[in-house]
Symmetry: C2
Subunit: 313 residues, 2 copies
């Protein structure tokens, strides 16, 4: 098994988007930029810095243009943003975002609640976004993120065939890459393996990312199962903040620092300095008083063994 | 991979021993018996009900004889107890315990702190226990539990060769079965796979149990890695209580209800009624005011999908 694991893993930080959008606190632009600066300094090279949604719906994301502008000054950083539709994508192209994620919920009920469109209407949106990218001559990478891929708190079951069917449609429409998201923490390692194997069989090198929430404590076990399928990129959120405003009972994403710790323990390189990440977590936590933070390694500390040993003295 | 997974998994409840021994609260005998009764009713068939240690060291375990006597009235229950030495084993034989666990720390420093003996002195203890069992004509199964198998907060590194060497010695001495314990939560899935593969290669059917603490959030991922090696029995503690009084920074065992949830999600039968277990958790939690409880599924609730769907309405 171990020889099958990818030789380098990318953690994409989504705390500034998936995390902050679900909190009451509205983090000031300066604080977001400092977070991005320090995350980049700690070794993160892909950061979802915000989303292009109407500010009246998500005031936490109102400054995404400014945050993108700052993030683009950092060398080697893939600046990512979520867009719910063509209008958001146009703003993202104009802002010079490197990579956009269009969320496509496999659950009809969640899709309607989250973006007021059916999954198939979102496919039309995807095609329109790809057209507009061509018209604009933009080079932004377009990812179709298939969400609620393991079920949905509003609807219950989501059939794997529907998830794979949507992924196939997105690939045929011309999405550069596709991802699977367990938006509300319903996945388990057996179903992760089964669905991710099908997804990778379909998408090949265009499979991009695994996105797991730790609502029921299985996020790291699910990451392990996906790793064993060859997935080499995972979303994570500093201090495990996050959730989904339209997914009842969802709690945070897998915590960036816990995921970085697991991968480092396993000898899988991510390029991340975990101690720098833990210091950043402390700063961000101090800016989010009263919010629910998650994550275990910040409380327990790094173990007194390699590769962490030097850190413990 | 999935076809390799064991077809039935046993969860051994250790909350009454590994859990309660680490708490300030001394649970009354009646409450312990009610816990055992309800755990048995929820489908658990192996319970470590206490330990035979001097009451002045662990007053929480002073009533183990009475608790064993009650547990033995429950049909089909394998009544298990920890013993630190021959003296404890003699008391366990006399009480009619079905199965005893002798902890053998691979970390010299932890072994001295925990049982005031070196690992090799514990091997002498194991041989003496097996002699006394013969003399007593007892049928109690004797397990050598190799602890701090992935490192130790006191000593740091523990060499896998030392762990495997101790296991080999225990098997040669005649232990009925052997186990591996990550006493303080240092394990990761890659090292779990590597060490458990060696252990199972050595012990074969005499390999008994995996014991993981969730100190750094990896317990369920580690269980998954061990499952994939063919391990079919895991220790767990209701509400994740536990730790080790002589292992600084250790926190609870993997929570019984979270482990049962993961296995049920994966379609792996354990015979456990998770809803009954969650009700029992509520009762036990109410008896442990002020103590740190863990576990995620009790907070998040079961998902609205099979095999939990019927339960959510």
């Amino acid at each position: 098994m171990i020889s099958k694991l990818p030789s380098h893993i990318v953690i994409r930080e989504v705390g500034l988007r998936d995390g902050l959008q679900s909190l009451q606190t509205i983090m000031p632009t300066d604080a977001k930029c400092a977070w991005i600066r320090d995350a980049h300094a700690a070794g993160l090279r892909e950061i979802e810095v915000g989303s292009f949604v109407p500010p009246r719906l998500l005031p936490q994301m109102a400054d995404t243009v400014e945050v993108v502008a700052y993030a683009k000054t950092l060398p080697g950083l893939q600046v990512t943003a979520l867009v719910p539709n063509v209008k958001g994508a146009l703003r993202a192209f104009e802002a010079g975002v490197d990579h956009i994620v269009l969320p496509i919920s496999a659950s009809l009920k969640h899709s309607l609640a989250n973006v007021r469109r059916t999954p198939l209407e979102m496919m039309d949106e995807l095609r329109a976004i790809l057209d507009e990218r061509r018209n604009a001559g933009a080079t932004t990478r377009v990812e179709a993120g298939i969400g609620t891929a393991f079920g949905c708190g509003l609807q219950g079951e989501v059939a794997p065939d529907e998830v794979i069917g949507l992924m196939e449609t997105a690939l045929e429409a011309g999405a550069d890459c596709v991802s699977l998201a367990d938006t509300i923490g319903y996945a388990d390692p057996a179903r992760v393996r089964s669905l991710f194997e099908r997804a990778i069989g379909l998408a090949g090198a265009r499979f991009w990312c695994g996105h797991f929430h730790d609502t029921r404590g299985l996020a790291l076990a699910n990451v392990l199962a996906a790793l064993e399928c060859g997935v080499a990129r995972f979303d994570a959120s500093l201090a495990g903040i996050g959730g989904c405003p339209f997914a009842p009972g969802a709690s945070g994403n897998v915590a960036t620092e816990d995921l970085a710790y697991m991968l480092a323990s396993m000898g899988l390189p991510t390029g991340i300095d975990i101690e720098a990440l833990l210091r950043l977590r402390g700063v961000v936590a101090s800016q989010l008083p009263g919010e629910s933070l998650h994550g275990v390694i910040a409380r327990a500390g790094l173990p007194r063994i390699a590769p962490f040993q030097a850190a413990s003295h």
